[in-house]
């Protein structure tokens, strides 16, 4: 309590109130006129200098809670005061932020009410941020003191915090973007424009059934369902191979499935063209040997489908591996002792227990496909999908924000429908399998009739993936693909050369700038993403509170929105005060956090729903509070989920393109947008070389993360049990 008030006062009196031009992590302001220069001054100093007088009421709201602290916690007045002052302070902060902008009053009616304002303000900075958090937590402590969620300060605070950041960084930009769905070219609101654009044939047409082109909405939907189903099946197959067979090369397979996830999406698209395009290697080979004339069959649905399956199966795998490992062996052993054969056990026990994982994997595949932008761009041909249509609506000659917004609405409707279908399928059943009883025993092996097709599919897929990566690597060391096949390292040298200059090392390669920025942004955003995601998952699985469904919906929403939309909406919303972060590194970090957080949430939910609630409860009755319980009991048991969330968000931050392309600036250029730039200049060699380097770096990073996070040993007695020992399989590891 006191802590947050102190934070609030520090924010008000000590640090600059407004955003500092030089960036969030730069501290030059300390030496340039602080604390009197009005660009760097804390709110208190501004007030003393007679500026920004509208900040004055905040003093009152910051003093108020002291009054509450004088009263005991059980006194209802204590809670009431905290709520009132927290809400008023937070509300005032927001209201003044929106009311007063760069050129004084933001709204005409305010100006006519109070007369012109001789002052103005910029985007909020450290000071405003600290004061806002102080008000927020004063408010949540008031709510907790009133007995919400058993009066648990940590839980109420965490809920409040997540709601606040999701509102600011998801709802606010999306709403400001959607409001433009009703705006005509000359800035007036109109409903008819909305309907005209919504019923467009390019969106809902069904001409492809009779040989024409179908609407983007149908294309996206069919593609997403196929991708969701196929990636889930493939992901499950790999998870089963790794956990339930005597397969020797598990580690290799794991690495193999991780490869596509650490590949910038359009690179897979490019490699597929190198293989199956008109002058692709496979196409040429088939033409030579069988005399089949090369066609452009790969452009369109087939190509996009293949590329997306390659790209998203690993996500399904990462989600499913945790669930497949989490199924308590004793349940499977119990089934076997009940005379179920291995196949029956798998069908009636293992598979149903994996249902949450399967549902989650499908949902992720579906949404990823809907939101994917790189592959349809490279391989789509005449196959229009929503995400690319949105891009062209904004970037193309049409520049039609309204159309983009409407397309985004349709996309959102599809993803939300999938979300609810998933919840309906899972129903209210409990899938808890890890109880507080130390579980010993091991997973049974797959039944033969399943093992053979599983191995076959995994094998084919693995060979295919391997080929793709060989192509990528080969492409990076070829002078000019298809024209001059001489081997060369010149692309790498252009990008990453180093020279010894007079003042030490010179980073002369053209790619270094974007490379370091990318690494830095990814390293900052990954832990933040994982943290926010897992705390959210904890709240969703472990706590009961009013409005939980709305809360879940809100936290998953950003995932259903394609990067393109996020990019555009962020630019629209955060270009002007009160939050002015366009062109900074912060906007990139923030966009990554909110785009990737849902994966952390899903992975967390899937694993946490397998931890019996009595584990938390016994920790609570042993005197740990809910934060300590989260830290000591939940987190260590969630290491697989943490790793998945960290890896995913790190890698996503390094490979994402769709949102990034709108948000980069000269100072903060990211690797992917640099590469796309090279592709546009037909500099494929450099683009592929850079991509290959990124892949290597990410491989190293993923390995490092694996070591850092470590494993939690919950003890399985042996790696193999007697039931598993067969003639050909031998235990490994």
């Amino acid at each position: 309590m006191l802590l947050w008030l102190i934070v609030g006062w520090v924010g008000f009196c000590l640090v600059p109130w407004y955003g500092v031009e030089d960036g969030f992590f730069s501290f030059v302001w300390l030496f340039e006129g602080y604390p009197f220069d009005s660009d760097y001054a804390p709110a208190l100093f501004l007030l003393f200098q007679g500026e920004k007088t509208w900040l004055l009421p905040l003093v009152l709201f910051l003093l108020g809670p002291l009054q509450a602290m004088a009263k005991p916690r059980s006194d209802p007045a204590h809670a009431r005061l905290l709520i009132i002052y927290g809400a008023l302070g937070f509300g005032w902060l927001i209201a003044q932020g929106f009311a007063i902008g760069i050129s004084g009053w933001q709204f005409g009616w305010l100006e006519s009410l109070f007369g012109p304002l001789g002052d103005r303000q910029f985007g909020m900075g450290y000071g405003a941020m600290l004061v806002a958090s102080a008000f927020l937590f004063v408010f949540t402590q008031g709510i907790a003191a009133r007995g919400a969620v058993n009066g648990d300060i940590f839980v109420v605070g965490a809920i409040g915090f997540i709601i606040a950041i999701v509102t600011v960084f998801v709802f606010y930009p999306i709403l400001s973007m959607l409001s433009s769905a009703f705006i005509t070219q000359d800035n007036a609101y109109s409903i008819s424009v909305f309907f005209e654009k919504f019923t467009d044939k390019r969106l809902w047409g069904l001409a492809c059934l009779s040989g024409g082109r179908c609407g983007a909405a149908w294309n996206s939907l069919v593609l997403a369902i196929l991708v969701g189903a196929l990636t889930t099946i493939l992901g499950l197959i790999f998870a089963l191979v790794v956990t339930r067979t005597g397969f020797r090369f598990k580690r290799g397979l794991r690495a193999m499935t991780v490869l596509p996830i650490i590949t910038p999406p359009f690179v897979i698209g490019l490699a597929i063209i190198l293989l199956f395009g008109l002058s692709g290697s496979v196409t040429q080979f088939v033409a030579d040997v069988f005399g089949i004339a090369p066609t452009r069959w790969i452009y369109g649905m087939p190509g996009v489908l293949i590329a997306q399956i390659l790209a998203f199966t690993p996500i399904a795998f990462l989600v499913l591996i945790g669930v497949v490992e989490g199924v308590s062996p004793s349940m499977e052993e119990a089934a076997q002792t009940l005379r179920a054969s291995k196949w029956d056990t798998f069908r009636t026990v293992s598979l149903p227990l994996m249902r949450p994982g399967i549902a989650n994997a499908f949902l992720l595949g579906f949404i990823e496909s809907m939101a994917d932008f790189g592959n349809p761009l490279v391989l789509g041909g005449n196959f229009d999908v929503l995400s690319t249509e949105i891009f062209f609506a904004i970037v193309g000659a049409q520049y039609d924000q309204g159309r983009a917004a409407i397309l985004a609405l349709v996309l959102l409707a599809f993803t939300l429908a999938a979300f609810y279908a998933q919840r309906f399928w899972l129903g209210k059943k409990s899938y808890t399998t890890m109880t507080g009883k130390g579980d010993s025993g091991v997973h049974p092996h797959l039944p033969k009739r399943l093992a053979i097709p599983v191995f076959a599919i995994a094998g084919v897929w693995t060979i295919f993936t391997a080929t793709i990566y060989v192509m990528i690597f080969y492409g990076s060391v070829v002078e000019l693909w298809g024209v001059n096949n001489a081997l060369t390292f010149k692309h790498y040298l252009t990008a990453f050369s180093l020279k010894m200059g007079e003042n030490g090392l010179l980073w002369t390669g053209s790619a270094w700038d974007s490379f370091w920025t990318t690494l830095q942004i990814a390293a900052i955003s990954a832990p933040l993403t994982a943290a926010v995601g897992l705390v959210t998952a904890y709240l969703l699985t472990r706590q009961k509170f009013a409005g939980k469904n709305a809360f879940e919906f809100g936290t998953m929403l950003s995932f259903a929105i394609p990067g393109t939309v996020i990019g555009v909406s962020y630019i629209l919303a955060f270009n002007v005060p009160p939050i002015e972060i366009t062109g900074t590194g912060i906007i990139l970090v923030v966009s990554f956090i909110f785009r990737n957080m849902p994966v952390g949430v899903r992975a967390g939910i899937a694993s946490m729903s397998q931890l019996d609630k009595s584990l938390d409860e016994s920790s609570l009755t042993l005197g740990a509070n809910s934060w300590q319980t989260f830290l000591h009991v939940i987190l260590p048991l969630l290491k697989p989920a943490i790793l998945a969330a960290l890896v995913y968000s790190f890698v996503r931050a390094m490979t994402a393109i769709s949102a990034v392309i709108f948000l980069v600036s000269a100072e903060y250029n990211m690797a992917t947008s640099y590469i796309i730039g090279r592709v546009e200049n037909n500099d494929y060699g450099l683009a592929i070389a850079y991509s290959t380097t990124l892949i290597m770096v990410m491989l190293a990073a993923v390995g490092l993360l694996q070591i850092l996070v470590g494993r939690t040993n919950v003890g399985r007695r042996l790696d193999q049990s007697r039931t598993n020992v067969t003639a050909h399989t031998k235990p490994i590891g």
Binding site: N150, T435, S618, T621, G623, A624, V714, G715
Partner: protein, 358 residues
């Protein structure tokens, strides 16, 4: 009642406590009860009667819908679990699978302000108390069911809580172990003078360990008393039936004078404590071992015949058909020459029958 007295053990009291789940499931209905410090009290009742809910209300894992709960002198009604000085042994044990036995047992100590060395010392002492010294570095998955159970007990014990709760702690153990562990729990409770609330659905277990038993049925208290009181004088049909076996028979109260009722059951005339009943039809409960099988014609008896007769080693079990319905009786006279079909007279031992309140 207890051998030594623990300074921390505290009483628990419920005043009109009700717990409603989700608006319509009434798991605990308007319960008032006092549990004295330093005693072991069991909550006994059939599955679904609200025992676990009552226990969780004491622990602070559920918040009561109405009523007040006090532990010692403190009103804890609105206090969450963390802030109550209560620990609980879960039916599933809820051992943290990623922590060693020692880490599990010292878990709560860590949050009670003990330093590392102290925590370890106390945890080891706790393990010793439950007979698990030497197992401290194992993972829960490397222990047998009984050992896991002891770890769970030790983990709760070392905190020296005001109240210690057990939710069907023996349900995962085999019969032999069950008897042994329940005796150990009782012994530890008595030597440390702990207040223990113990949930079970097994009446034998309840009778064996408790200072007092609270019998629950349909979210309310059916009867509350010492094992002896419950056994000898069940208040109602439900308790009579649930604790031990009982023959329940319709009878007639002809008059009541100064708490003594004159009861008539066929040719049997009895003077019994009236327990607040008035003249009119009533019910009588008789334990099987208080039903005496005698030769036909004795006074104060009802006629009947033997339907079934079973020899079970240390006693005989009779099923009798009488003019007042079927009766179940046991007799320690294993040398009896009676056989199935023989006519008999049935009478009751003195202090055998009790009137039921409802």
């Amino acid at each position: 009642m207890t051998a030594t007295h623990n300074s921390k053990a505290a009483s628990v009291s419920f005043r009109n406590v009700t717990k409603v789940y989700g608006g319509d499931v009434r798991a605990v209905g308007n319960i008032s009860v006092d549990i004295a410090a330093g005693t072991l009290v069991t909550l006994l009742g059939p599955s679904g009667c609200g025992k676990t809910t009552t226990l969780r209300l004491i622990a602070g894992l559920e918040m009561s819908t109405s009523g007040t709960i006090t532990i010692g002198d403190n009103d804890v009604t609105n206090l969450p679990a963390t802030d109550r000085d209560v620990s609980m042994v879960f039916q599933s044990y809820a051992l943290f699978p990623h922590m060693s036995v020692l880490e599990n047992v010292s878990y709560g100590l860590k949050f009670s302000g003990f330093n590392k060395a102290e925590s370890k010392e106390r945890a080891l002492a706790g393990l010793k108390l439950v007979g698990l010294d030497g197992y401290d570095s194992r993972l829960p998955s490397e222990l047998s069911g009984g050992q896991q159970q002891r770890v769970a007990v030790a983990r709760a014990l070392v905190l020296e809580p005001q109240v210690l709760l057990f939710d069907e702690p023996l349900s995962n153990l085999d019969a032999k172990l069950r008897r042994q562990v329940r005796e150990e729990i009782r012994e530890i409770q008595q030597t440390l003078g702990l207040t223990v609330v113990y949930v079970t659905h097994d009446q034998e277990e309840a009778l064996a360990v408790s200072d007092r038993i609270i019998v629950m049925n349909n979210a309310t208290i059916a009867q509350d008393g010492t094992p002896r009181e419950l056994y000898d004088a069940p208040a109602n049909r439900f308790v009579a039936d649930f604790i031990g076996e009982a023959n329940i028979m319709a009878c007639e109260i002809s008059a009541v004078a100064v708490d003594v009722a004159q009861v008539k059951l066929g040719d049997i005339h009895l003077n019994l404590p009236s327990r607040g009943l008035h003249s009119g039809p009533a019910f009588l409960a008789v334990r099987p071992n208080r039903v005496i099988v005698d030769v036909p014609g004795v006074a104060n008896s009802i006629p009947g015949s033997i339907v079934r007769l079973t020899y079970v080693g240390n006693h005989l079990e009779y099923t009798l058909e009488t003019t007042h319905g079927e009766l179940f009786a046991t007799s320690s006279d294993v040398e009896s020459k009676l056989k199935v079909g023989d006519p008999v007279a049935v009478r009751f031992a003195e202090k055998g029958p009790v009137l039921l309140r409802d």
